[in-house]
């Protein structure tokens, strides 16, 4: 997939097209300009208008120009019941696998440089499948998540947004591969710096209780979760050579031996990559006994969802313990455990979107 062009590059293409003495070359440059600019954000689309102005009508028809102007007034919208947001590649791979999409599926671009994957999820006792949009941020940190979600939410309006992926777990309370569903996300890195000390000033984001309540019933569908998870792990093992996914040896050799737990708990989310095993210390400092995991995007995600009056949840699989020499072989497995748990909650109607208000 090519990198998204910067505004400077679009300016260069426009200048080159304008200066090109050869009409054949100019046409080729304009073709690229139109396509490249149409994949960018609102500012990039200004270049489309310049391309239109530079192009003879036979290869930039007036109807395309009118469509372009109209699209600037009404940006495209994509309907979906649930928006699933991932951050890194192993998380995207896991979600694609959990929702039956091949890892080779490249999704489709939306203006602003983001990319969507579309999936349908059949539901028990319902003829209408849930429509899902899946996306990937590509970079960690809360502020990047917020800015990315701003772009994404300008093109879709789901009923529920779910952040799915991996996290560091608290060693004494969870095992590798366990799933933590957030009851609350706490931005623990927020602090006041005084001359004497650093005073933590955490920002809290509570998940709606209507969404967390069904998690207590998850034990009833645990066997179905394991069956689905093991089937997808078997498939991942079969395709290892093609996908290049990394799996821990124990899971690779005996997928059925992997029996994770799912817990409701507090997730700490700060712009600090934890490699000092300080999760327990930070939880104690914040007096959050139920802090089970830590990651770097949940607070940015929660913040913009709250701002947009959008229901949200966070599902995290434990991929390491935030210590030195973190290994990465649990990342896919942990994210897959989280993604399959979400899938089952949605398809079994345990997580009923009917309880969520339709957003305006």
């Amino acid at each position: 997939m090519a990198k998204e062009a910067s505004l400077e590059e679009l300016r260069f293409l426009t200048g080159l097209a304008r200066a090109a003495p050869d009409p054949i070359l100019r046409r080729l440059l304009l073709e690229d300009l139109v396509w490249t600019a149409s994949r960018g954000g609102a500012q990039s689309q200004d270049f489309l208008l310049r391309a239109a102005a530079l192009s003879p009508p036979e290869y930039f028809p007036r109807s395309d120009l009118i469509d372009l102007l109209e699209s600037r007034l009404r940006p495209p919208r994509y309907d979906a019941d649930v928006l699933i947001v991932t951050v890194k590649k192993p998380e995207l791979d896991a979600v694609l696998s959990a929702f039956d999409l091949p890892s080779s599926d490249m999704g489709f671009p939306i203006p602003g440089g983001a990319r969507f994957w579309r999936a349908k999820l059949p539901r028990a006792r319902s003829a209408t499948p849930l429509s899902l949009l899946i996306t990937v941020v590509g970079e960690a940190q809360n502020y990047k998540m917020s800015s990315f979600m701003h772009t994404v939410l300008s093109h879709c309006r789901p009923r529920l947004a779910v952040l799915v992926g991996m996290a560091a777990g608290q060693k004494r309370k969870v095992n590798l591969g366990n799933v933590v569903v957030a009851s609350e996300v706490v931005d623990y890195a927020n602090a006041v710096l005084t001359e004497e000390e650093v005073i933590p000033d955490p920002q809290n984001f509570l998940v709606e209780q209507t969404l967390t309540r069904p998690i207590y019933l998850f034990d009833r569908i645990r066997e179905a979760w394991y069956a689905d998870l093991h089937a997808r792990l078997d498939e991942a093992v079969r395709q290892l050579a093609e996908t290049g996914i990394t799996l821990p040896a124990a899971v690779r050799n005996r997928p059925a031996s992997f029996l994770p737990r799912l817990d409701l708990g507090v997730i700490l989310a700060g712009d600090l990559l934890m490699e000092d095993e300080s999760l327990q210390f930070r939880a104690d400092q914040l007096k959050r006994r139920r802090a089970l995991a830590a990651e770097m995007e949940g607070a940015g995600f929660a913040c913009i969802c709250r701002e947009a009056h959008l229901s949200w949840m966070v599902f995290r699989g434990v991929a390491d313990f935030g210590g030195p020499n973190r290994r990465k072989d649990w990342q896919f497995v942990a994210a897959l455990a989280a993604a399959t748990a979400l899938r089952l909650l949605l398809s079994s109607l345990l997580l009923d979107l009917g309880t969520i208000e339709q957003p305006s």
């Binding site: 997939m1 090519a2 990198k3 062009a5 400077e8 590059e9 679009l10 300016r11 260069f12 293409l13 200048g15 080159l16 200066a19 050869d22 054949i24 070359l25 046409r27 080729l28 440059l29 073709e31 690229d32 396509w35 490249t36 290869y59 080779s104 599926d105 490249m106 999704g107 489709f108 050579a241 093609e242 290049g244």
Partner: protein, 599 residues
């Protein structure tokens, strides 16, 4: 040794073994000439090949070669067992110079022991009148355990060992002639250096002494030629025609960090102290400290990666002579923008005082400059950012990079349009782009392929169309990819691909027919390792029909008699004109949606 009668030619076959390689390969007439010459060196004047040229090789990938010793033993045993019954002599060739193992020079070590173990396993069952000639990179020492194991066979002349330096266990073997033959066949390192020279394109600012600046367009990078550079530097520093080896080597890498390792290795091989980096303050201080210990004047050679006018090099030589009691009698430059000879030439530079400074260079290269007043000086006229000499961008080409290349190459109506589709219209002259900048494009493309699907070039097979046109862009790109990365290339004639495209529903039957005719590509794919990672390669992707047909051909491998199916992991190309089609995993250096590709 197998007995040969005077009237009948001796018969021989070649054990099909390839180590540290992804695909098989077809034998050709040159291979047979080589083995017949080796027979002559053994005293057999008339010999005849009795094997089949299309028999696939047993291949073992680099990873397996290193990590799975038993795979090497098993492949050796199978290769020997499958040699023709009628052959009196069987060649087992793992020579670094002329063998079939592309990584033989680096795998070394215990792999030879595993080959010997495979040979030992099979010796008692291949018949008493047959002799195996093992062509090795280096002779096994007398007391080496593997050597001891096969000593009885060696004494009986049932096994003959021959090494690249001409040594043999057969006392009458013409070792000098063999060594000379090897050195003629071994690719000259200077050619290889040119083939692997990456010419990165960009806008590199250079200040002008009289004020202002201009831009040079090419940054030269020899980082893919470590072995060649090491050999060339070693020979050049050592000196020829009676000149003496210097006492000290000084160098100034500038932005070309690639000179450091091969130069250090060459110095070690010459028994010299490490080279002094006089481009760095620490290097100069170290040189000055070392100079205090020297009791008499020393001879120095200065090595530079690149020389243009020579002013900087002369200034450096004069500084060195002032700073330390040394005499700089020569400069060795890897690349030079001037000189009478294209390769392996020399120049003479004027110093402030005679004598002139001699510069020996390996390759003469072209360096283009653009003045800021020129219309095509894009940093000035279109705001293109200046390039950083210390940066080595990987991944796709930027808009600046692609269109800079395309404009210099020119655009034209697509020629040699495949019969199965309409022309995509005007396209950049990809053949010219690849001919001029193939090494750089391959370097960039490989950075994307290795990030995405293939971590080892030696385990990768690139399958591409073989064009019969005057502008064979795909084949040329494939050759560059092989030179730069070491990946195997398998070329499928365009006419075979077209037949598969046209066959439509009956494509599978046609592919089966093509495989059954055992063309060279089928032999290469048949013997490919089960661990091989296959990528399809073309100059550009449009409708995708060529790629789909190639995929059909490659993936039929599972039904062609191979134990496993080769799976295509990606398609790589310079330009993808249909990025909206998401059915293929296309790795492209540049992409935009052509209107003609949508229709």
């Amino acid at each position: 040794m197998a007995s040969t009668s005077g009237s009948e030619p001796a018969t021989y076959d070649i054990a099909r073994l390839r180590l540290a390689a992804a695909s098989s390969q077809a034998l050709d007439r040159d291979d047979l000439h080589f083995y017949e010459a080796v027979c002559e060196f053994m005293g057999i004047s008339d010999s005849r090949f009795v094997g089949s040229v299309n028999q696939p090789f047993h291949t073992v990938t680099p990873d397996q070669t290193t990590l799975t010793p038993e795979a090497v033993v098993a492949a050796t045993t199978s290769a020997l067992k499958e040699s023709a019954d009628a052959a009196q002599f069987i060649f087992l060739n793992i020579s670094a110079a002329v063998g079939y193992s592309p990584m033989a020079a680096t795998i070394g070590g215990s792999v030879e022991n595993q080959v010997i173990e495979g040979l030992h396993n099979v010796m008692s069952s291949i018949g008493p009148d047959r002799t195996v000639i093992v062509l090795l990179p280096a002779m096994l020492p007398d007391k080496d355990l593997s050597r001891v194991v096969i000593d009885p066979w060696i004494h009986a002349e049932r096994v003959i060992l021959v090494s690249d330096d001409g040594r043999s266990t057969l006392p009458t073997f013409a070792g000098d002639e063999y060594r000379e033959l090897i050195s003629r066949l071994r690719e000259a390192p200077i050619n290889s250096l040119r083939q692997k020279l990456i010419r990165r394109q960009g806008w590199f600012r250079r200040e002008i002494v009289s004020g202002g600046h201009r831009y040079f367009r090419t940054l030269f990078d020899c980082s893919r030629s470590v072995q060649e550079l090491q050999q060339l530097l070693l020979e050049s520093i050592k000196g020829q025609h009676g000149s003496k080896t210097p006492d000290v080597v000084l160098y100034d890498p500038g932005p070309s960090k690639w000179i450091r390792n091969p130069l250090a290795a060459a110095c070690v091989a010459l028994g010299l102290d490490d080279a002094y980096d006089v481009g760095l303050r620490e290097g100069r201080e170290r040189l000055a400290r070392a100079a205090k210990r020297w009791r008499r004047a020393r001879r120095a050679v200065i090595v530079v990666p690149f020389i243009d006018t020579g002013d900087t090099t002369v200034a450096l030589a004069e500084w060195c002579e002032t700073a330390a009691p040394i005499e700089v009698d020569r400069v060795v430059a890897v690349l030079s923008t001037a000189g009478g000879s294209r390769d392996a030439g020399f120049r003479r530079l004027r110093r402030s005082e005679p004598p002139m400074l001699r510069v020996d260079y390996f390759l003469r290269v072209e360096q283009d400059f653009v003045e800021t007043t020129q219309n095509d000086c894009y940093p000035e006229t279109l705001g293109v950012p200046e390039s950083d000499v210390n940066d080595d961008p990987t991944g796709p080409l930027s808009v600046y990079e692609f269109w800079d290349l395309a404009i210099r190459a020119g655009v034209y109506e697509e020629r040699d349009v495949p019969p199965h589709r309409a022309s995509v219209g005007v396209i950049p002259n990809f053949h010219f782009m690849i001919k001029e900048h193939g090494q750089w494009l391959s370097h960039r493309l490989w950075s994307m392929v290795s990030d995405s699907v293939a971590d080892s070039a030696q385990s990768t097979i690139l399958v591409c169309p073989q064009e019969e046109s005057e502008d064979p862009a795909s084949s040329t790109l494939a050759n560059h990819m092989r030179n730069i990365t070491g990946a195997e290339v398998v070329k499928v004639p365009r006419r075979d691909i077209e037949r598969v495209v046209e066959a439509g529903e009956s494509a599978t039957a046609l592919v089966e027919e093509l495989w059954a005719a055992t063309p060279p590509w089928s032999v290469e794919l048949m013997g490919a390792s089960s661990e091989a990672r296959v990528c399809l390669l073309d100059d550009f992707v449009s409708s995708g029909a060529t790629i789909d047909a190639l995929r059909e051909i490659v993936e039929f491998s599972g039904r062609s008699g191979r134990p496993s199916r080769l799976k295509v992991l990606a398609v790589c190309c310079i330009a993808n004109f249909d990025p909206s089609a998401r059915t293929r995993h296309v790795i492209a250096l540049y992409e935009w949606q052509r209107k003609s590709s949508q229709s």
